[in-house]
């Protein structure tokens, strides 16, 4: 394989980083510096773990400090009570984090935003309480002293222990890089941007949310094990809310979704206390911070890219830091306020963190070519021709769905034949969307059954319906906004990913990744988005976003594709393109349910049309027959003029 400039630079700088870190003790013989380096490696591991939930899952996770504590006490106790060696003790720490993280993920599974933060906050507080109060085991507030256990019979001195920590950091870097750059990383990000679509694309929120949280937590508790063997003394008070805020500072300041960011964040955390104890360094730091904030504010305002608040708030915070620095007596006393000001400036002014900024800067500076665009696979390989059997593929039997007193769907029976484009039309509120939401599993039916190819379709689970060869698009777009167009499609590819987890960790999934990218490219080509494969979905035009939804649904290689108002809000030329896309999909033998308001689209495309009104079917047949049906005209245009005349006269009386 030929390595591009980009690859060379990335691999080169990684090798340089670890080479440098490993070599430092060779030429600086200073126990204090060695202590800082060890701590850097430990926090590096912890922050890589924290970044999985904060960066990839996009949740404010306040539990990582608890996992650090749990891991530390697990390692400490397994040495003092069970006499374990270093490696088994560390392994046990990792497993405890993995299990506890997995268990905690269950209640947090349905939670987003504030609830997730509250759940993890409670877990942290609860852990501190238990560590404090279970005195017979942890000796409570008195603290637990540990003797560093041997590693394979060797007694590690400070330098040896540092190399162990650094080696583990390098190993975890390698594993997580492989994991997060592939389908797992994509699934985590998909989950962050749209849980509903993650389920509907057959990826499954459940598995990935639990996995992400468990992985992240296990790294936290592994770091805890190392923490225990580094300090050799543990106290529950070390693992409280204050440290958690500092850890978050590390991730946010370093840069989310970046291994480099995690290590830079760790470096900042480790160096902060030194920064605070040296007055000159502190003033220098505040001055540099203020200068950066002012430059960014002036640039942002000149280009009018940043709102006033975003430009000014970091300047004020950094100014406060600089002026305050000269006024206060002891910086150590104001430690928390200083962290707060720094964190505030970064969160507001530099949301992508140091690495996000540096990364953009370097790729512009070195004129790095964008990632090479994968070559697309032939379409017939990606979407093999399905035989149009003209058999009923989906049968709906007396389906009802009520919301409280509203009968959104009130007894619908319907049969959809394979290979057809089946239109579903009706005025607003007639129950079309509810019907497809019940078919696709978003809502369970109140009553009635749905059969696919004669067997009953699972109900009330988007994920299990998706596994049954049914794919859908969403009327209100549910794209994975931050992922590229290509990645959006790659997330959904069915039957593509077979490499077992451990081989992925070792980086042995590359050929599979390339194949997936080429298949995804073919689908992007089909909908006319091949030239925009690297664009984040949120930056695409509205029309392109609709097409991307279709490409993504096709990645499921569905037998039945549900298009929920695909033409809504599209311009004329886009609608023409949409019709061509639908025709192509139809030619491939995919059965389509088309919900649409544009009658011309329905007339031109559909083989068969069902008309709903008030949750009931009012007409069925070919588009031509439907157009002439008086009931349909009444539903759309109101009652016949003659009738209206009478009513008007009655009203006049």
């Amino acid at each position: 394989m030929i390595m591009g400039k980009r690859q060379l630079l990335i691999h080169g700088s990684e090798l340089f980083l670890f080479g440098l870190l490993a070599a430092i003790p060779g030429f600086i013989n200073n126990p204090y510096a060695l202590g800082l380096l060890t701590l850097l490696a430990i926090y590096g591991i912890l922050l890589i773990g924290l970044d999985v939930t904060v960066g990839y899952l996009g949740q404010v996770n306040l539990a990582q400090v608890a996992f650090l504590g749990l891991g530390a006490y697990t390692a400490g106790l397994s040495v003092t009570l069970l006499g374990m060696g270093m490696l088994p003790a560390l392994l046990l720490s990792l497993v405890v984090g993995l299990v506890c993280g997995g268990v905690l993920a269950f209640p947090s599974l349905r939670l987003e935003g504030p609830q997730f933060a509250l759940g993890t906050l409670s877990f942290s507080a609860l852990t501190t309480t238990i560590l404090n109060e279970w005195e017979s085991l942890t000796s409570g507030a008195q603290g637990l002293s540990i003797v560093r256990p041997p590693l394979f019979g060797m007694h590690l001195k400070a330098q040896g222990f540092y190399w162990l920590c650094l080696g583990l950091l390098a190993l975890i870097w390698f594993f997580m890089k492989n994991l997060l750059s592939g389908r797992w990383g994509r699934a985590f990000e998909a989950l962050r941007d749209s849980p509903i679509a993650t389920d509907a694309m057959g990826v499954g929120c459940f598995r990935y949310k639990v996995a992400a949280f468990a992985f992240g937590s296990s790294l936290g508790s592994l770091a805890g094990g190392l923490y225990a063997f580094n300090f050799l003394y543990l106290q529950p008070q070390s693992f409280t809310y204050d440290l958690m805020v500092i850890l978050l500072l590390g991730v946010v300041l370093g840069g989310r979704k970046s291994l480099w960011g995690a290590v830079i964040g760790a470096m900042i955390i480790v160096l902060l206390p030194n920064l605070l104890s040296n007055r000159f360094l502190f003033h220098l730091f505040a001055a540099v911070g203020l200068t950066l904030a002012v430059v960014a504010a002036v640039r942002g305002r000149l280009h009018k890219t940043t709102p006033w608040f975003q430009a000014l708030a970091p300047v004020i915070a950094m100014g406060l830091l600089l002026i305050g620095g000269f006024m206060i007596g002891n910086t150590e006393d104001w430690r928390k306020a200083i962290f707060a000001l720094m964190l505030f400036s970064v969160v507001v002014g530099l949301p992508e963190g140091v690495m996000g900024f540096v990364g953009r800067f370097f790729s512009r500076l070195l004129r790095m070519a964008p990632r090479t665009i994968p070559i697309s696979a032939p379409l017939e390989v990606v979407l093999p021709q399905l035989s149009p059997g003209n058999q009923p593929i989906l049968t709906i039997d007396a389906l009802q769905r009520h919301f409280g007193g509203v009968k959104a769907v009130d007894g619908i029976s319907l049969s959809i034949r394979s290979g057809q484009i089946h239109g579903l039309i009706g005025p607003n509120g007639s129950g079309k969307s509810t019907v497809v939401n019940v078919i696709s599993g978003l809502y369970p039916p109140t009553q009635g059954k749905i059969y696919k190819n004669g067997t009953i379709l699972p109900s009330g689970s988007l994920y299990r319906v998706a596994l049954n060869g049914i794919a859908r698009t969403f009327q209100n777009l549910q794209l994975f906004g931050e992922l590229s167009a290509l990645a959006n499609v790659m997330v959904a590819l069915r039957g593509m990913y077979r490499t077992p987890f451990f081989l992925i960790l070792l980086g042995l999934a590359r050929s599979e990744e390339q194949k997936a990218a080429s298949h995804a490219m073919a689908l992007l080509e089909l909908v006319g988005l091949a030239g925009k494969s690297a664009t984040p979905a949120k930056d695409l035009t509205y029309g392109d976003q609709r097409f991307l939804e279709i490409a993504r649904a096709l990645a499921r290689r569905p037998e039945l594709l549900i298009l929920d108002e695909p033409a809504a809000g599209l311009s004329r030329p886009d609608i023409r393109q949409l019709m061509q896309i639908i025709r192509k999909i139809h030619q491939l033998g995919v059965t389509i349910i088309l919900i649409e308001h544009h009658m011309d689209v329905v007339t031109a495309l559909c083989d068969h049309v069902t008309v709903l009104d008030g949750g009931k079917i009012i007409a069925e047949g070919t588009p031509q027959a439907i157009k002439r049906d008086p009931k349909v005209m009444e539903a759309y245009l109101g009652e016949m003029p003659a009738v209206r005349q009478e009513q008007a006269e009655e009203g006049a009386c």
């Binding site: 209640p107 935003g113 609830q115 759940g119 507080a125 309480t129 946010v252 969160v347 507001v348």
Partner: protein, 292 residues
Amino acid sequence: MNRTMILQMIVSGALMGQVYALIAYGFQLTYATSKSINFGQGELVMLSAFFSLTLINWGIAYPLVVVGGLLFGAVLGLFVERAGVRLALEQKSEGWILLTIILGLFGFSTAENIWGRDDRPFPTPISSDPIHIFGIGITPLEVSVILGVFAVMGLIEGFKRYTLLGKAFAALAADRDAAGLMGISATRTIMLSYALSGFVSAMAGILIAPITTVGPTMASTLILKAFSVAVVAGLDSGFGVVITGLVLGAIESLTSFFLGSGWREAPGLLLLILALAVRPTGLFGKTTIRKV
């Protein structure tokens, strides 16, 4: 084991629980308008209490101290909204969680350095000699807590139900876009909700300070329990917090007695995690239908 003693503990605990309920009510106010809550609310409670203590030390009369403290809380609430919440809401991100945590940290550190790290008594004209009813002692101070909590909640609830400005809260909670189209300014209503929420937490601080003393950490466990009440009851449960506060306060008081005071926080935390697992909308909350 004496039955009166247990009853005594249940009653005292339940009374304390009303303070949690009051802070939880403050969360509901901002959650209704903006689906956001201030993670640094505990620091608002603490800062307002410290501010009121300073006013007392200046020799200002108690009723004026209360007014001053409440206004101070409202101003802090406005500051949190401007500095920590508005930008994130405009970007439709959840950055406000982190930002309100950060502002809380800043407030904490400031209080530590201005007023010191020690706990200080909060003098009040209200007596703390218990009155015995059926053998259970209740202090006028505890009664003042209950009265204060209900007065503030009643006042704000009245404002929400009977004034046009207050009805905007419900409108925003129901549908932010539609409210905007009807001429309700979302920004101003959210500001108002944060001011009220700060007002409410100042009230909580002033009410509880004579009982717990005033110090930088006075609210750090209080806030966890308020979170717990808010989540267990539901973030849109209205007066559900009162009942939940009564129950949680009583449970906590009993736990502290039977297992030791170190376990005091445990039931609240456990209940919060359980509630999130079993019923994320809370006992008194409304379930919503997912729409796509």
